[in-house]
């Protein structure tokens, strides 16, 4: 593997991890939005607070990691993406800002009307962010981002590949979140809530699966380069993804939530990897290849050193965080605090 391809792979690993962990956080917005009124939805909203509260900021950093790697390793292509996809990017950014701020505000809001307002912002922006990030992916994958000059600000992302990309992103995020929240609800011994989430997640899974199937034909016409490889070298990934997606639904149906999390992660990982393998060796499909877009060699080496440092520093710390959140004392929403 060339140096540039290694850095691109490291960057894309960030994309996969963001899609999984950041995606599961964003996906909780759908369930929050449809949880019902203050009384009916209260338990679910507290569960969401508790599930994503400790981890969402860490999961969010994968996006920073992707951006930083993109502009440092492939500066010209980064500028091109930012130039052409200005609108979906700034709308995704709006969602990111509103989601994070409103999530923190809601938790400490003093009154129910305030919590409602912040909650609506949190849930709504959780939905628009994955949509526009998916649309950005669709624009890159369908070859609509020219390396030089600015592509069309609107039509570059208003086309079947981007629209389906956005919808599939919302669907996969919601599926991940649904499976994780269902498992969390059972872990905090709230079986009625788990039942409700299970039913919703099954619907989300079916809709997402249908979306992926429905997207095949339009993407085939709209993004020939991508679709050629999707049906070629990336085909095994797509098959694994379909099988894992089906398995997730079956496991949910049979209330095997713990293992359903694993199959959901496999399904989403394979979808995202499929996109990556589908567009390799292009960085911007039909415009510039990874090797051509790469910046200075010394910088690429520097970035691999950053990857090594992250593997030593970040990965164990993240593992510790996730381990803690799954441990017994952390599974209860109210900590057992000493008496006043």
């Amino acid at each position: 593997m060339s140096l540039a391809a290694a850095v691109a792979a490291a960057m894309f690993a960030g994309v996969v991890l963001y899609a999984l962990f950041g995606g599961a956080d964003f996906g909780s917005g759908l369930y929050d939005l449809t949880a019902g009124g203050a009384v009916r939805g209260g338990r679910l909203r507290v569960l969401i607070d508790h599930s994503i509260g400790p981890v969402w900021e860490a999961n969010h950093v994968w996006l920073i990691y992707i951006l930083v790697f993109f502009w440092t390793a492939f500066p010209t292509a980064f500028a091109a993406v930012m130039n052409t996809l200005f609108l979906p990017l700034i709308l995704a950014l709006l969602g990111i800002v509103a989601r994070g701020a409103a999530f923190a505000f809601r938790k400490y809001a003093a009154t129910l009307p305030q919590a409602r307002l912040f909650g609506a912002v949190f849930a709504g922006s959780s939905l628009i962010t994955p949509f526009f990030l998916g649309a950005v992916a669709g624009a890159i994958a369908s070859g609509r981002v020219p390396l030089h000059g600015r592509g069309n600000l609107i039509t570059s992302w208003l086309h079947p590949t981007s629209i389906f990309g956005g919808l599939i992103a919302v669907g996969t995020c919601s599926l991940l979140a649904g499976v994780f929240l269902t498992a969390d609800a059972r872990r905090s011994a709230d079986e009625p809530l788990a039942e409700r989430l299970r039913a919703q997640t099954l619907v989300v899974g079916l809709v997402t699966g249908a979306l992926v199937l429905a997207a095949l034909a339009p993407i085939h016409r709209d993004a020939p380069t991508l679709s050629h490889h999707l049906l070629g070298r990336a085909a095994p990934l797509i098959v694994v993804s379909a099988v894992a997606g089906l398995a997730t639904l079956v496991l949910l149906w049979r209330r095997r939530y713990g293992i359903a999390r694993l199959s959901a992660v496999v399904a989403v990982t394979c979808v995202v990897l499929g996109w990556g393998f589908g567009q390799y060796p292009w960085l911007l499909v039909d415009q510039v290849r990874i090797a051509e877009a790469a910046g200075a060699r010394a910088t690429l080496v520097g970035l691999l050193i950053v990857v090594a440092a992250a593997a030593v520093i970040v990965v164990p710390a993240l593992a510790y965080l996730y381990w803690l959140t799954q441990s017994e004392p952390w599974s209860h929403q109210q900590a057992t605090e000493p008496a006043r």
Binding site: G41, D49, E57, P75, A104, Y108, L112, A115
Partner: protein, 473 residues
């Protein structure tokens, strides 16, 4: 922001002015939260440790509250920092497209420190009563270290813009890129020290000011005394160190960026020994309203009784920064910094002579004001260094007109950014105020109004909510 409108250039690309406005607003907003990310964990550590070691319930209570406050502040800090990451590309494609692989490496390392900060913040916030107390306390240590590394990395990029290194330009192409030399450029250490210490000044004065305000309202308990003293101690050390660091940094600016120094000092022509011009404006090429003190300018700016300060007359007109804004911002920053340093020295001197200034309402009023003053000094410092570097984005390499986006739609995104930041400011203010009110009324854990701890609210709402179930929120 008004300051950037002064920089309006008739000849720049369509996106130049809105890009500047948007960058100034989002950077100026984020920098305050970034300071909390850098300095607040250390202050919480001191209180939390005191609470554990001395079994001091007041200190533990403060640490618990500050942890909850930091949950709000760090969240909006994280998202407003993300805005800046996007803006690097959305607003300045001419900088990132051409120099991304030169300046990017410190950002990548900053990513690691951001990870560490976010991970241990999550553990610390949710670890209360769920972890062994000593280990829980230790979760603050990586956060403090991440603050140091993160500050260094981000400031490194700005220092590189002031003192570009690690590349050559041959026939317009960027060659011989060495990102390590770019990262460890000669400006970085002093600029880092200046910013890191500035963060402790800002947070120290703002937080101690909150408790000074409480004391002014007659809340003179141990809680307020401790809540004032710990951040004020941090602010003291920082405020006393800052003038020295700033002076040494200023000397280097004089060597490297003569046009910036000339603007700082309002030096229209080269003079040696140069006077110090306090205040004043440059109007039609003449200095007006300045208090001129002979020789001191050379002493302060050049560490010499006679060495000249290079004047603006030696700089081509096209390469001069906006002089008045740079000069006023710089001197206001120095003035506030000096005032704060004198004030903290006075406070501890009085304490040493057994006079407790906390008993004085005038002192408490000043302590409240010190918070906004420290914020102003930090913002003014950034205005001075950024505006003083103009017309360059990368000093003598890349003009700001060539760095900015050509997107004419940027005014819309600027309007959006203004709206969103206004909303976030109001939201943070409302939420933090109501948190303080609930704490004062005796609540401790601040349960969510929709959560299980809020049964009273639930019942009150149940009639209305029951009939509206499913209709959303």
């Amino acid at each position: 922001m008004a300051m950037t409108s002064l920089l309006a250039s008739a000849s720049g690309p369509a996106g130049l002015l809105p890009a500047r406005e948007q960058m100034a607003l989002s950077l100026g907003w984020h920098i305050i939260l970034a300071c909390f990310g850098v300095a607040f964990p250390s202050m919480i550590f001191v209180l939390h440790r005191r609470g554990l070691v001395h079994e001091d319930p007041v200190a533990i209570g403060l640490a618990r509250r500050w942890a909850k406050v930091s949950a709000v502040l760090f969240a909006i800090g994280a998202v407003s920092g993300t805005v800046l990451s996007f803006e690097m590309g959305l607003l300045w494609p001419g900088l990132m497209g051409r120099f991304g692989d030169v300046l990017g490496l410190p950002f990548a390392f900053e990513g690691i420190s951001f990870f560490v900060e976010a991970i241990f913040l999550g553990i610390y916030l949710y670890g209360w009563d769920r972890m062994p107390p000593r280990r829980h306390l230790m979760m603050l240590v990586p956060m403090g270290l991440a603050g140091i590394v993160g500050t260094f990395c981000v400031v490194s990029v700005n220092a590189w813009m002031n003192h570009p290194a690690g590349f050559r330009i041959v026939n317009g192409a960027v060659v011989d890129v060495n990102p390590w030399r770019a990262m460890f450029n000669s400006m970085v250490w002093l600029q880092f020290a200046h910013m890191w210490v500035g963060a402790f000044m800002l947070v120290g004065f703002v937080v101690s000011g909150v408790y000074a305000a409480g004391m002014l309202k007659g809340r003179r308990d141990e809680h307020h005394r401790l809540g004032f003293t710990v951040p004020f101690l941090f602010a003291t050390v920082a405020a006393l160190a800052q003038p020295l660091i700033g002076h040494v940094l200023g000397l280097q600016v004089g060597n490297d960026q003569p046009s910036k120094l000339a603007a700082f000092e309002l030096a229209t022509r080269t003079e040696g020994p140069a006077p110090l011009r306090l205040g004043g404006l440059l109007i039609d090429g003449h200095v007006r309203f300045a208090l001129t003190i002979p020789r001191i300018g050379s002493m302060i700016a050049r560490n010499s009784f006679s060495e000249p300060v290079q004047g603006l007359n030696t700089i081509p007109v096209a390469d001069r920064p906006p002089v008045n804004l740079t000069h006023i911002s710089f001197q206001a920053m120095v003035g506030i910094g000096t005032l704060l340093a004198v004030a903290v020295a006075l406070f501890w001197l009085a304490r040493w002579r057994k006079v407790d200034l906390l008993a004085s309402r005038w002192w408490l009023r000043f302590a409240v004001l010190a918070g906004p003053l420290a914020i102003a000094a930090l913002e003014l410092g950034w205005v001075a260094t950024e505006v003083g570097r103009q017309p360059w984005t990368v000093w003598q390499v890349l003009r700001t007109t060539d760095a900015a986006s050509t997107n004419p739609g940027l005014w819309w995104s600027y309007a959006g950014v203004v709206t969103v930041y206004l909303g976030m400011t109001v939201g943070a203010y409302v939420v933090l105020r109501s948190m303080a009110r609930r704490w004062r009324s005796g609540e401790r854990d601040l349960p969510s109004p929709y959560g299980p701890g809020a049964a009273v609210v639930d019942e009150a709402e149940s009639a209305a909510a029951g009939s509206a179930t499913g209709s959303g929120r």
